[in-house]
Amino acid sequence: MQFTFWGVRGSIAVPGPSTVRYGGNTTCIEVRGDNNELVILDAGTGIFQLAQTLFAEFPIDINIFISHTHWDHIQGLPMFTPMFVPGNNINLYGARDIVENRSVKDVLSRQMEYSYFPLRENELKSNMHYFDIQDQQDVQIGSIKVSNFLLNHPVLNFGYRLECGGKTVVFTGDHEWPLNIYAEGDPEYSDYQAFLDLRRQQTLDFFRGADALIIDTAYADSEYPSRQGWGHGSFDASIRAARDAGVKKAFLTHHEPTRSDDQLEQVFEQALKRNGVCSSDPAFFLAQEGVQIEV
């Protein structure tokens, strides 16, 4: 199995000289199974560049798993060229909107309404199939088993675990380790904390032993206190999680859009040093657009 980063930036695309090394596109990861099956994790603006590489494979089966439907994870979808070409089969998986009670098809189709886009969803020429998925539902894509797990974000967000030929890649989508809503001393604090601890263990089990963990690490730890509850991880939290889950490699992603490449490397180096990362730890990397990893 191999994967390629096509978008590693969080929140909004930020092309420009200060982001040229790590990339300015929002989240999109291409995963290829042992039989060249194609799974795409999220459809941020990076999916446009990925699309340009697929023409030679048309007609093609494409399986897109959406972690959640915030803009930066779906914004590239209306411009995903394979959707306009007859003969392509596109399977799109994601969570239902439980607040508005809308299917993932409904949620995504709204991006292509009159006010936002010149073509409507039902004018797409490829064979489009939408699947509302549930927590911990397995989907088999050829040689790849894709399982999911609800993670913590201000909208339902599925992390995905892809297993193929004995190798495992885990992608969190956007995730903040949930915090105790009660203060120490509140009667509810300890029960809530016990449940949080249990949930953390379940989440780590979902990450467990991955050859590659691609994890939301939006914030420097100096920034995090003022951004608690926004639904994103920090460097210290990701390093701890990668260690606790015993993963081999961890790719830190969802880079803060205001951070230049130089600043990103600086924050990363500081975090590795602060956490005493050594050779017995997982290998940590900053996710970088265009980089292909074989697991």
């Binding site: 969570a95 239902r96 439980i98 607040v99 508005e100 509302d132 549930q134 927590d135 911990q136 539902q137 609800l150 913590n152 974000h153 201000p154 909208v155 339902l156 967000n157 949930p178 809503i181 009660y182 203060a183 509140d186 009667p187 509810e188 300890s190 029960d191 809530y192 016990a194 449940f195 949080l196 949930r199 509850g229 639904g231």
Partner: protein
Amino acid sequence: MPDTRHRASGIGQQQDRAILTSAKDQLLELVEHIPAFPQAVMRILDITSRGDCDSKELVRIIERDPVLAMKILKLVNSPYVGLPQPIASVSHSVIFVGINTIKNLALSVAAIGMLPKTNAADFDMDQLLKHSLGVATVAARLAELLGVAEKDRSDYFLAGLLHDFGKVVLAQYKAVEFKQALEKSLADGSPLHQAETAILGYDHAYIGALLAEKWLLPARLVDCIGFHHAVDTETRDDQLRDCVALANIILQRLDFGFSGNRYRAEIPSTIEARFAMSGDDIISSLGDLDDELAKVTAFSH
């Protein structure tokens, strides 16, 4: 019943045939749009309009409104989310789906409107809310008396809060019949749930449990709602149900709130046996409840 995760409570099957399917379906459809109590709706709108919506406060408001609590649990336990185990706690729901989803779910319920203070059944909803909060509080205290760990007592509070959800439904959507049942119970001194069955063919416990079951709430909650008037006849050992049933009787004696039922039930001997003391001794063991009851209902007045 659709949920294979739950122990078969059997509530749905028992009386299913007694109700015309179409009438029942119509009622179930209506309940999808039932609004919450005004106090909670106003507070939800208030705290969510502020930039710094306090999670703890949000959960607290939901945990004190039977409609909001029921609907949040319904959505979190829905097959669309597909959690492997049913969730019986509003605060635990936050851990699974995140506080912003809970906030927006609460807002979507608040957007429906508010339960009217008056209804065609002439049933005082304020008093029912007070009664429900009282039963919730006392059920949790009874659990404490039985040595239930603090972390598990929230189950008892929630079950007490939800036990009369069926009455909210009947007052809203079966007002004429419910009014007749209230009058019959008052006139002939029969328990209200029996008067409801005489008039409607089913009672509030049944309709509450049916909804809880349909909405995939945990089986222990379904059973508690469904059997809180059936301690004598429902022989399954169920501590949660017994605590809620007893709290219900105690609240009637205390005249705290009003659930529409003037019938004064005796404390079943099986409950006395569970506590290994007489009903009067159980009540005295609880001590003075005034402060606690005043506190839990403070925001609703």
